[in-house]
């Protein structure tokens, strides 16, 4: 009962892979990279708690002892070489402990997957996204392309999240290495999906690449993270489906789009 109350009062559980009102923590991880980010956050938070409790205790006790009747004659300490050396060395060791897992995660995020199964190109426009699946066509064929618009505020169906849903989701296979190529058609954008731990800037004149491995089926919501006009923060919705259903889902999507 106490745990339920504490979780309600202090923690917000995110049961879905989208932003929740008053959310404090991260969304549930759907990729190994996001799990690594959460673990790094927990590692650093340990040091934060250690330092916070120590400094708060010293502050409170100093105020407690600074009492004209309980301690009428305060100590007159001018300097202390030993304590000065300790308080210089000890705080410099803490960032070393933080840096080790941080650099490990950073370099693992930069590793390029040599042979991803699928490459999807995400092109940012003002103010929608278009996605290209170019893996399955020969050079003279047109790529499979569709646009993805955010469903307006006054138009959602029952059960849809406000300003988070799109008309056409990006369908990707779960448990499969993907390569996302992100580029804009006009101004800078950013393709961000928090539960996948992905944020890839779309810079004009450049194609940026990021690798994703979605570990479980589900629908993951994100928003554009580079301000660019009136309808900024339009949404990105990634739907991860089982690999066996991927082909039929993508072809159905293009049939609907064509119609």
């Amino acid at each position: 009962m106490i745990e339920v109350f504490l979780e309600w009062r202090f923690l917000t559980i995110a049961p879905c892979d989208a932003a929740e009102p008053w959310q404090l923590g991260s969304q549930d991880a759907a990729t190994p990279i996001m799990q690594g980010i959460i673990d790094l956050h927990h590692d650093i938070f340990f040091f934060l708690i250690l330092i916070f409790v120590f400094v708060s205790r010293m502050l409170v006790r100093a105020l407690w002892h600074f009492h004209e009747q309980k301690n009428p004659i305060p100590q007159r300490i001018v300097h202390g070489t030993t304590i000065e050396i300790i308080r210089t060395i000890f705080p410099s060791i803490i960032p070393m402990f933080i840096a080790i897992p941080s650099f490990a995660l950073l370099y693992s995020m930069d590793e390029v997957v040599v042979d991803p199964a699928i490459t999807i190109k995400a092109i940012g426009h003002q103010w929608y996204r278009s996605y290209e699946y170019s893996d399955y066509n020969s050079s003279d064929e047109q790529s499979l392309t569709f646009d993805s618009y955010t469903i307006p505020e006054d138009d959602p169906e029952l059960g849809q999240s406000r300003l988070l849903e799109v008309d056409n989701r990006v369908v990707v296979p779960a448990k499969t290495h993907l390569r996302m190529i992100v580029t804009p058609a006009d101004v800078p954008h950013s393709w961000a999906v928090p539960s996948s731990g992905v944020k890839c800037d779309a810079v004009p004149g450049r194609s940026n690449q990021t690798s994703i491995l979605v570990q479980r089926e589900g629908v993951y919501y994100g928003q554009c993270s580079e301000i660019r006009g009136t309808n900024h923060a339009f949404t990105i919705v990634v739907e991860a489906v089982p690999l066996k259903d991927y082909g039929s889902r993508v072809s159905n999507q293009f049939i609907l789009q064509t119609n």
């Binding site: 673990d39 400094v55 089982p242």
Partner: protein, 67 residues
Amino acid sequence: MASARKIVGQAASKGPSPSVIKEMIYGISLGLAAGFFWKMYHWSSQRRTREFYDLLDKGEISVVVDE
């Protein structure tokens, strides 16, 4: 009022003077204890995540709703 303050003053001056080293040791111990509780939460959440994915891979649970 003056006599009460005198008694408090007399009682206080007999007490031990505070030790900086002791306070630092108590502070670091409290900090480590609080950090340990946080680590317990972290290990618990890692274990729950691992169990979730193990069950998912075995097929005992599913995140897909049957239509």
